[in-house]
């Protein structure tokens, strides 16, 4: 998992509440055998005017000009500004995969759905919760200033404007913060105990050789 410490990124707005994982990545794309390549299908039903299926050449599909992420000013955005209960619905881990594959490293919203929250942590996508009032203000900023960026400092637990005129503090559980800062996914965490696992395995092999052969 990639380490997350300081992100200075372009912000894109997703101005609706209760965006569910089916909207984030529609179910027909779950048949893939990969965990990458979902980027073009992030918000597929909103992004294109036709119906998408896996295996299509998505670069040739008709784009919906009204969809916010299709606007030129938001190309290359790494921070998604969202409304409450983002990521509700099915448990698919493809939702954070798709967001990250499309270049997002951080989502800022007033609240997130539980499973999406956990799945994001497993995959190194930072979710930041700010108050409704702060989020309103940020939506206003994004709309008003093309090229609006935010600096997300995980170490200091702050989201600030590039001129540091406004600094929002956010909470994150220490364990999750530790994992993100060190690029430790669940596997990385377990592997901190690699010596213990090896010792257990050796002991088991001596006692019951038929199990580990």
């Amino acid at each position: 998992m990639e380490k997350f410490s300081l992100l200075n990124g372009l912000v894109a707005p997703m101005d609706r509440a209760n965006v569910d994982t089916d909207a984030i990545i529609p179910k027909q794309f779950l048949k893939s055998i990969k965990r990458t390549g979902y980027g073009p299908n992030l918000f597929d039903a909103w992004r294109y005017t036709d119906h998408g299926e896996p295996g299509m050449d998505h670069s040739k599909r008709p784009k919906n000009p009204d969809f916010v992420l299709n606007q030129a000013r938001y190309q290359g955005a790494q921070i998604l500004l969202a409304r409450k209960n983002f990521g509700c619905g099915s448990s698919r881990e493809h939702a954070p995969w798709a967001l990250m594959d499309d270049g997002f490293r951080c989502v800022i919203a007033p609240s997130f759905a539980d499973i999406f929250f956990n799945n994001s942590a497993k995959n190194g996508l930072l979710l930041v919760v700010l108050s409704e009032a702060d989020i309103d203000r940020l939506f206003y900023d994004v709309a008003s200033f093309p090229g609006f960026r935010l600096i997300v400092d995980l170490e200091k637990q702050t989201v600030s404007t590039t001129d540091a005129s406004r600094v929002h503090h956010f909470d994150i559980d220490t364990f999750r913060k530790y994992c993100l800062l060190n690029g430790l996914d669940e596997i990385g965490l377990t592997l901190r105990h690699a010596d213990k696992i090896r010792a257990f395995e050796n002991q088991r092999t001596m006692q019951f050789p038929w199990y580990t052969r």
């Binding site: 998992m1 048949k31 055998i33 990969k34 965990r35 990458t36 896996p54 295996g55 881990e93 497993k122 996914d185 669940e186 596997i187 377990t190 592997l191 105990h193 690699a194 213990k196 696992i197 257990f200 395995e201 088991r204 019951f208 050789p209 038929w210 199990y211 580990t212 052969r213």
Partner: protein
């Protein structure tokens, strides 16, 4: 205080425990199939990791493989996604390796939960995982078997451990002797009918009592297979002579001195007499009759001599609504006798009931009879290539064919309809599989879960009949 079998298995695999009780559990056996492994292997690759212990992996392709036209080879798989999953498993096996891999078309290929035990790759005292919820099957061998998700598959590949919290201990005791024509499938359906699909949530269920002791290993696997349908992530049966007899001489069973050592250890894999269970349920074997599900959840089940229940008589509003929805989906009227339900298709197979004993039971009913003219297809899908070969050696294939059944190649087949075998909307099926959920066997398809003998009897009659009365 004494320990339960689950306690013993748990304690012997804990590598490390966090303060909150979360443990790292060492995994002995990792069963891999084509549907839930691709992203796990890709994740390994992206992170630049290697599998921790390749010798733990036993792999096969089963969910997507076709059950006919094997002479066409991989070209016979027309769905490009199914084909890609199978080819990806081939590629991952080439790159990463395994203790053994039974690819599509191999004579030992089969449903992952059938091939593990029959090859002696599932042994008492092990922890077994697989990216499939019916991994509970393997608990019949007194091993701790968990179904896991794709992220966990990757985690086990990379670390040989599973992050787990300990479950509660539950014991379901079946006392007495099963009546003639009553099988392990009827036992487990009756249990689910009693405790409900959430009855075992958060528990490991140990199945015990003379009714379970009297079952063959095949029967015990059928019971543990459906532990997950009762909400339990793991099912268990203690080791006894039947277990040990079954394992003797299997390809991956220990041999020589090691066999003796192993058996001595395995005999300790029983719950202590003074062990305490968090929950206990007891059923009388004599009271269990052949079962048929009538709804869209395995707990919606009835004895063959019963009738479809009437939602109007259900006081609980939520349950009533669930029953009404199920009956609408199933196209059934309240109070219809189960024996009057006519069917269109019959499926004998799946990791619940596709072992040799299941096929023998179905063949015994089919012998000298004919599939009813109203049945569109009655297919028998052996659980593995070895089961198929054994059945053919015993002439069961001939019995089935002469009776008008289709005799197919091994795989999951119409259990979940990922390959070409499926129900069309509205079609009604007597199925020996484990899930009667809406659309499980094909969109709009209607599934009734039964035992192999009951499925064969329904095929012959064109509707459900009491197999005990066939003579």
């Amino acid at each position: 205080m004494g320990q339960t079998l689950y306690d013993k298995l748990w304690n012997s695999h804990v590598v490390h425990t966090e303060d909150d009780g979360t443990a790292l559990l060492y995994i002995d056996r990792h069963l891999v199939h084509e549907v839930t492994s691709p992203q796990a292997y890709e994740g390994l690759k992206i992170a630049g990791r290697k599998p921790w212990r390749v010798s733990s992996v036993v792999a096969t392709a089963d969910h997507n493989t076709p059950t006919n036209d094997w002479h066409l080879g991989i070209a016979g798989i027309t769905d490009p996604i199914s084909r890609l999953q199978i080819e990806t498993l081939d590629a991952n096996m080439r790159e990463y390796g395994a203790k053994v891999y039974f690819p599509f078309l191999d004579k030992r290929q089969g449903i992952v939960h059938v091939i593990g035990p029959e090859n002696g790759a599932t042994l008492p005292g092990m922890t077994v995982v697989c990216g499939d919820s019916h991994t509970s099957t393997h608990g019949a061998f007194a091993c701790l078997a968990h179904g896991i998700g794709t992220s966990e598959v990757e985690h086990v590949l990379a670390t040989q451990c599973l992050v787990q919290k300990k479950m509660q201990n539950m014991r379901v005791t079946i006392d007495g002797t099963l009546g003639r024509g009553v099988t392990a499938k009827d036992v487990v359906l009756a249990i689910i009918g009693r405790i409900g699909t959430a009855g075992g949530t958060g528990c490991a269920i140990e199945f015990a009592g003379s009714g379970i002791r009297g079952l063959s290993m095949e029967g015990r696997m059928t019971v543990c297979n459906m532990a997950i349908e009762a909400g339990a992530r793991a099912g268990l049966v203690a080791v006894d002579e039947t277990t040990i007899e079954y394992l003797k001489g299997r390809p991956f069973s220990p041999s020589g001195v090691e066999w003796e050592q192993a058996v001595a250890y395995w005999r300790t894999l029983v719950s202590d007499a003074d062990a305490k269970f968090d929950r206990e349920v007891t059923l009388r074997a004599e009271e269990i009759v052949p079962q048929v599900t009538w709804g869209t959840s395995p707990e919606m089940v009835m004895g063959i001599d019963g009738a479809v229940p009437d939602p109007d008589r259900e006081k609980d509003a939520v349950r009533r609504e669930g029953m009404e929805r199920a009956l609408a989906y199933m196209g059934l009227k309240p109070r219809t006798p189960i024996q009057d339900i006519r069917i269109d298709k019959v499926f004998i197979g799946s990791c619940t009931n596709s072992r040799i004993e299941d096929l023998r039971a179905a063949a015994a009913v089919a012998k000298g009879r004919r599939v009813a003219a109203t049945i569109k297809v009655a297919m028998v899908v052996p659980g593995s290539g070895l089961v198929k070969a054994q059945a053919e050696k015993e002439g069961l294939d001939r019995i089935f064919r002469e009776a008008g059944f289709d005799w197919r190649e091994p795989g999951c087949s119409m259990c979940l309809a990922m390959n070409a075998d499926r129900l069309e909307p509205g079609e009604r099926c007597a199925s020996t599989s484990n899930r009667n959920f809406e659309g499980r066997q094909g969109a709009g398809g209607r599934t009734h879960l039964v035992s192999p003998a009951m499925a064969a009897a329904a095929a012959v009659a064109g509707h459900f009949v009491d197999v005990r009365k066939l003579g």
